[in-house]
Structure formats: C-alpha cells, structure tokens
C-alpha cells in the first residue's frame, strides 16, 4: 500500500486538533445544562443546607436566631411529647391513607391495564381528570359533601338517619387524602400491571389455578414493584400535605407540616421549626428505606 501523504501529513497534528475541537464542543454543550444546575444548586440545595444550618443555631426572642452552635433545638424536638404525638399522628394518617388508596386503586389499575387501547385512553383521562383541578378546589368539594350540614348529612337526615361527623376530624382528612392521591397510585400500578402478559394468567388458569389463586400467586407478586413505588409516593405525599389537614381537619387535626409552618411563620421560631422539619424529614427517609428493604426481601422471597 502506497503511503502518500498530502496536506498536513503526520497523525499527531489532526489528532490534537480533533481532541481540542471535541473538548470545546463539550464545553459549549455544558452551557445547555448550566441554567438548570445553577437554579437547583442556588435555590434548592443551598436553601436546604441553610435549613440544616439554622437548625443548630440558638433561638432568640428579638432576632431570627443567634449565631451560636447548639443542639438544643433537636433536644427540644425529640424531648417534646406533644411533638411526638403530632409526628405519630401524621405517620398514622399517612399509613392509613396509603393502605386505603392501594386497596381502591388496584382494581382501577388492573381494569385499566386490561382494557382495549381505545378504552385505555378514555379511562386514563378519567383517572387524570381530578389532577387537573387544584387541590384547594377538590378539598372544597369534599367540604360541601362532608360538612355537618353538607350533602351527605342532609341526605341522611332526610332519610331519618342520625347525621354523622364526617369533617373536622381524621375521617374527613383521610377521605380527602385518599381521593387526592388515588390517581398517583393508579399510575404507579398501571405500568407494571400492563407489563404482565395476560397469557401468564391464562397459563396459571390452564394449570388448574382458580381466578383468585391465579391472581394471588401470579399477578400480585409480579405487580409488587408498582405497589412499592406507588405506596412510597402516596405515603410521602400524604404526610407532607398541608391543604387537606387544615381545611378538612379544621385545625383540630394537627400534622407536622401544619406545626412546622406555624412555628416558623407565626411563632417566628426558625431554629425550632427547622429542627422539627429535619427530624421529620429524616424520619420519613428512614421509614421509606425500611419499607423498601422489607419489600425487596419479600420480593426476593416471592421470586
């Protein structure tokens, strides 16, 4: 093979040129992500770090805080029986909401996953419709239904049944939370359920499993990833909800978000509010982590 070399001949030169060109191209491309990264670092990561910083500063009556390191805020949070009751109450509401939402969402998601493709589009629209109306308005709607003189109670009275207290207590808050978060649960479940080939269920049936057994032994284990992700999502959303506990709970139901916001915006106790927020945040992370570990072990066992 002839080795004629025209132009700039040697190999080193174009290589250097190429790698330099590639480097500047990559640098230029980084400008694409720069605005988003700057926004998130400056107004997301930094504020959270600042919250962490405030939580170890000393409380003060005439300033936001005094720049002196202390763990007193955490001691106060952890030592306060009232705060623990609020935390426990919030977590309990979260668990109850998640379980009910799961039970109600599963049939919806299953039905959706097995519908024809035309029906699927329509049903998906129906599931998503509530999301298109703000949480405040949806809560208002539940207030119309659940209040002492509301629709449900006026119907009950007209039938001669004793009216029930459905609002300004845990019942009302739970109903509101479940309703608001069902679409999220359905969406999380529908994906994995759709991924299960109907032939697998048919195979189980052909091997002699009844409808219920086929579901319990085949469909349910295969849908567990959706159950787990949906449950985590709904749990986290439910315990950090603010509108529903305040409107449907009427301030008789106190949850951590309500308490934290009140501590910061009404009592102006930034250090304590920050500590409370962080304790709650950490607790949530631990619970979710434990749940995920437990479920992954269960899923391994099922497999």
């Amino acid at each position: 093979m002839a080795t004629i070399r025209r132009g700039d001949g040697g190999l080193a030169l174009p290589w250097a040129r190429l790698s330099r060109a590639a480097a500047t191209r990559r640098q230029k491309a980084f400008l694409l992500v720069l605005p988003a990264v700057a926004l998130l670092l400056l107004f997301f990561i930094l504020p959270y770090l600042y919250l962490l910083y405030i939580s170890v500063m000393t409380q003060s009556h005439n300033a936001k805080y005094i720049t002196r390191f202390t763990l007193a805020n955490y001691a106060q949070t952890i030592g306060d029986l009232f705060i623990w009751r609020v935390i426990f109450h919030t977590l309990r509401l979260g668990v109850i909401t998640t379980v009910i939402a799961l039970v109600l969402s599963y049939p919806l998601a299953y039905h959706l996953a097995r519908a024809s493709s035309v029906m699927k589009g329509l049903l998906m629209m129906l599931v998503l419709t509530p999301l298109l109306v703000g949480v405040v308005i949806r809560t208002y709607s539940w207030m119309i239904l659940l209040s002492d003189t509301g629709l449900i109670n006026s119907l009950l009275t007209s039938w001669g049944v004793q009216p029930a207290h459905l609002m300004y207590n845990d019942t009302g808050v739970t109903i509101g939370l479940v309703h608001i978060y069902i679409p999220f649960m359905v969406l999380s479940l529908a994906g994995p359920l759709q991924g299960i080939d109907p032939d697998i269920e048919r195979a189980a049936r052909s091997l002699g499993a009844g409808a219920w057994q086929a579901f319990w032994r085949v469909t349910w284990p295969l849908s567990l990833p959706g159950v787990v992700s949906g449950s985590v999502l709904v749990f986290v959303l439910a315990i950090s909800s603010y509108v529903i506990p305040s409107l449907l709970g009427g301030f008789t139901v106190i949850t951590v978000p309500l308490l934290a916001i009140r501590t910061i915006t009404e009592l102006f106790n930034w250090p304590l509010g920050s500590a409370l927020t962080i304790v709650f945040f950490a607790l949530t992370v631990v619970i979710v982590w434990l749940f995920l570990r437990l479920m992954s072990r269960a899923m391994k066992g099922a497999a």
Partner: protein
C-alpha cells in the same frame, strides 16, 4: 355450571366496583360544577335552581380576579423558563453527559420526591436571609420553576431516549450541519414531548399550593392561596367558580395539546 354462575356474579360485582370507584374519583368534580351553577348559598338535594350569581360574584371580587390573572401570568412565565432550561438540560444529560450523567439526572428531579412544603419553608428562610425574593414575584417564580422543572426534564428525556439518532446521522449525511440538523430534524420530532412538558408545567404552576402559601405576598397571591384563605372563613360557592374555570382551562390545555400533537401525528402520517 356452578362455576360459570359464580364467575358471572364475580364479573358483575367487579364491574360494579369499577363504576363505583370512578364515581368516587369524579364525584368532587361533578359537585364543583353543580355548586357553581346552583343559586343557593349551600348545595342541597335537589339543587335550588340554575344561576350565574356566583360567577358574577367571583368576577366582582377584586381579590379573586387579581389573583386569577396573577396566577395565569405566573404560570406563563414559569412555563417558559422551566420548558426552556428543562429541555436544554434534558438534551445535555441524555446526549452529552458522561461521568456526571447520573448525578445530574438525580439533581434535576430532586425537587419531585421531597415534600414541596419543606422546600417552601427552606426557600422562605433562605430568601429572608439573603434579602431577595421577599417582595414581588421573584420568589414565586423561582419556587414554581423548581417544582415544574423535573416534569419537563422527565418528559423531554423520555422522548429523547426513544429518539432514533440515525435520523440525525442521515441529516448530516445529506449535508446538514449540527445546528440545521437540530432545527430541521431533532426539534420537529421531539416537539410533542416539549409541548406536553410545557402543558404539564403550566397546570402544575397554576394549581401549585405549598410553595405559593409560603412565598406569596401582598399583591402577589396566586389563586389557590386566595381561595384557601377565603375557605377558612366562608363557605359559599364562589370557590366552585374557580374550580369550573380550572376545569375549562384544563380542557383547553388538553385540546391545545391534542391539536398540536394531533398535527404532529398527521406529520407522522398516522392519520391520513
């Protein structure tokens, strides 16, 4: 025989259950619509009669109309920003990023799983400390953009992940430079994802509550906060009117997306 009767009963029960669940899901929406057109102060059965008085009341209440238009403007600004930087970030992360790809991906969607109310608290304290964003709409724009960015990023990333890059190679092969290739081939094909992301961002911002509760101020109160304050003390169906407006807007958004994405599928030749 026994089994087929059993399965028929089962099927009817299953069907009824599904219908009831959809009814539960959609009931509050129906209630809002009925309440807004009902003439009485409270909604009772049967409804007291058709009236537009609550619409009139909503229109005449300056605090509502001011908040309504503020929310629209806020959502528009946030949509433009979030769609722009979210799409750009998705392009970089799915295509160019190498070593830091996973880190960037997590960073971009980080505001999604953490409770928005805590993000709001952190932002509020931070803004007070650095003395910006406490007046005017700056804080709200920043906070809403944080919440909307992950949606745009996720939707556009999904579209880009499914994008067949040989199309770009084909364009280069036919003589198009990088920028022409992006403008003439890439952008038209990912347009559907960008539009869906934008619509999602708009609705999310318009309905956003937690961030708005903490960062809204005098004269910069988004509609959900105005309604929330109103509902704490009064109970009349003026709030339902805002609900109907929301529903109409959402339907418009769906129509707009349908039209744009529909046009696109015409491009793609799905409909002929």
């Amino acid at each position: 025989m026994h089994r087929s009767i059993g399965s028929r009963v089962g099927r009817v029960a299953y069907g009824t259950l599904i219908v009831l669940l959809y009814a539960f899901l959609l009931l509050p929406i129906a209630i809002v619509v009925i309440a807004s057109f009902n003439s009485g102060n409270y909604l009772r059965f049967p409804p007291q009669g058709f009236s537009l008085r609550w619409f009139r009341h909503f229109g005449e209440t300056a605090s509502f109309t001011r908040s309504f238009f503020f929310s629209l403007r806020l959502a528009a600004v946030v949509t433009v920003i979030a769609t722009g930087i979210g799409t750009a970030a998705a392009l970089y992360v799915t295509r160019t990023a190498k070593r830091y790809r996973e880190f960037l991906r997590v960073l971009m969607i980080a505001p999604l799983p953490v409770p928005a109310i805590i993000t709001g608290v952190a932002l509020l304290i931070f803004f007070y400390a650095i003395h910006v964003g406490t007046h005017g709409a700056f804080g709200l724009v920043v906070g809403h953009t944080l919440i909307c960015l992950p949606y745009v990023f996720l939707i556009v990333s999904t579209v880009l992940a499914n994008f067949d890059r040989t199309l770009e190679e084909a364009a280069r092969n036919l003589g198009a430079g990088p920028w022409t290739t992006f403008r003439r081939v890439t952008l038209p094909i990912i347009k559907g994802g960008v539009i869906s992301g934008a619509v999602f961002a708009f609705i999310t911002s318009y309905d956003e509550f937690s961030i708005s509760l903490l960062l809204g101020g005098v004269g910069t109160t988004p509609l959900p906060i105005q309604l929330f304050d109103y509902l704490r003390f009064s109970f009349d169906p003026t709030a339902a009117v805002a609900g109907v407006i929301s529903i109409v807007m959402a339907m418009l958004a769906v129509l707009v997306t349908e039209r744009l994405v529909g046009l696109e599928s015409l491009y793609y030749g799905r409909r002929s």
